[in-house]
Symmetry: C2
Amino acid sequence: MTVTIKDIARKAGVSRTTVSRVLNDSGYVKDETRQRVLKVIKELNYTPSAIARSLSTNKSNTIGVIVPEINNPFFGEIIKGVGQVADEHNLNIILCNTDDDREKELKALKILKEQRIRGIIITPTYAEDQFNSEYLSTLENLGIPVVLLDGHVKYSNFSGIFIDHVKGAYDATKALIKAGHKKIAIINGRKNYKITVDRFKGYKKALNENNIFVEDKYVFYGDFEYESAYKITKHILKMNDRPTAVFVTSNMMILGSIKAFYEENINIPRDMAIIGFDKIDALNIIGMNISFVNGPTIEMGKVGMKMLIDNLDNKKSKEEIKRITLFPKLVLKGSEKFINNKCE
Amino acid sequence: MTVTIKDIARKAGVSRTTVSRVLNDSGYVKDETRQRVLKVIKELNYTPSAIARSLSTNKSNTIGVIVPEINNPFFGEIIKGVGQVADEHNLNIILCNTDDDREKELKALKILKEQRIRGIIITPTYAEDQFNSEYLSTLENLGIPVVLLDGHVKYSNFSGIFIDHVKGAYDATKALIKAGHKKIAIINGRKNYKITVDRFKGYKKALNENNIFVEDKYVFYGDFEYESAYKITKHILKMNDRPTAVFVTSNMMILGSIKAFYEENINIPRDMAIIGFDKIDALNIIGMNISFVNGPTIEMGKVGMKMLIDNLDNKKSKEEIKRITLFPKLVLKGSEKFINNKCE
DNA sequence: GTGAAAGCGCTAACAA
DNA sequence: TTGTTAGCGCTTTCAC
């Protein structure tokens, strides 16, 4: 049915080995022979079988990418970055979308192992702190390089790219202070999560450096989803000594906050300043000018893939565990400004 | 290094054939033998090689998915749908993101062919009308089932899932009319594009049915990007006999329109009614309540993948070309209302 | 019920 | 510079 190396060999009057040589640019082949072979390849529209090659070399050129939510542009951008680098290295990607489902995660690992992938890139969900042990041990037993993207350092057995959430929160808080705010609330993610703790650290550091006390009444915890921030914001607006600024630590949560502001006719930043974490393209396009801390998603994908490639070749010491920290960038759009004085 | 079927066979004291039988539940195996084999498989943590199997059976369990823009949630949702169905059928996905780049498209096809994929799902970009012939012929020469998602019927050689854009535009326009509008502008996509033409048809049909004339001055063409709609909207707002409602035919473009409304202090829907095409989650979450025609993205992915699977087994007549039309759903949020009378 | 042997399409020593 | 041969890990007749 399909054209094989044998067909090429026969028609070109050479051995399969020779065809293989021109295919892989390996070994010596007389130029004349090479041309003849190439011509036949063209004529017969032959494409070598990556499957047969993988089996023969015992080495695939496929890597696995596991994401919890492919329809979230955050992960889409990561994949975009991963894909770009993979492309350059002629690696291809088997994508597994887990919908944050434990079983699917496990199944994905099994499928990827069957495919004898070279390495694996995982972007853990926010629920990362609940990585189950079966998943982890399966991952380790795979015996192939793993790179965690924006994961948790606690999984110290894996290489990974990390975002400096402390710095991100610090920058955001500092910008609010610089704009004149002293009463700054934080709507943070789920308590105990690493990123939540880190972001609080940054918030606290900025306040302390400016001799502002961290007031418990201004510290809130949501669950990363917009409803939680919506409720918290509603509550904030009813406070007696209400803050003049809010730092909201996820892109979904900031939507909830804005909704609440809308409903209560709070103008940003006239009545309330705000800075978010991770961008929401739509808001900026329509001109809402919400400032935010921008996690470098595409870059994270790229850097992560590069690291994986390094580890792929790194057959030496078992595989050294590498870590790279990326810094989020504060993007100021005006929503952090201090315009209102009446709450002072 | 890795455990193979041979290791299992040896340790279980049977032949490789028998191991293969229990692996695939094929042929007769004494239950006692089966148990013994299974036990060894567990012990050795054996996972069969999909690569070897594919080579042997001359049949992979991989399909290719090509998208132009993985970071756009529109495509992310499609992939999600595709993935769900693929999962159920133990098919896995090699993802190719082309960034709308001709060369990458071609390269993707080459890679997929090398991988001996069973079938392919393509979501053409808006630039679909410029599908180049090299791409198309390569696609046909692959000799495997292809399913186009939201593509162009003009590529009549392929099966596909289509969205009824006429109906979508018709419903939207009709809703505006029902809300009392008579002067309804349309900000459409690139002229000559199939979807643009279809949407205009729907718009026109709704107007005609209600004895409203299509006024050329209310018909605009952008390029699907938000800047174009922004400019057009600015223009609309300066018109003498300005419309009371606007139907904007892409999710990016509606952001541009809203930006323009914002800047000119136009309240929706008090001063201007609006309906978009394809959802923008963020806007609805923050409570802007923009009505829109919702393309069934996830469903499109699911239905498309199901169709591909059908075609996979369909070894009979070459492969019949199938078409399924999906209907977008109008989601009314209030922005289509008719509140302003002063323009009447 | 089970096994021997051939073969899928390719690569990689080793010879020539 | 080219070819022979064996083998990658699995499935699949066919025979026992």
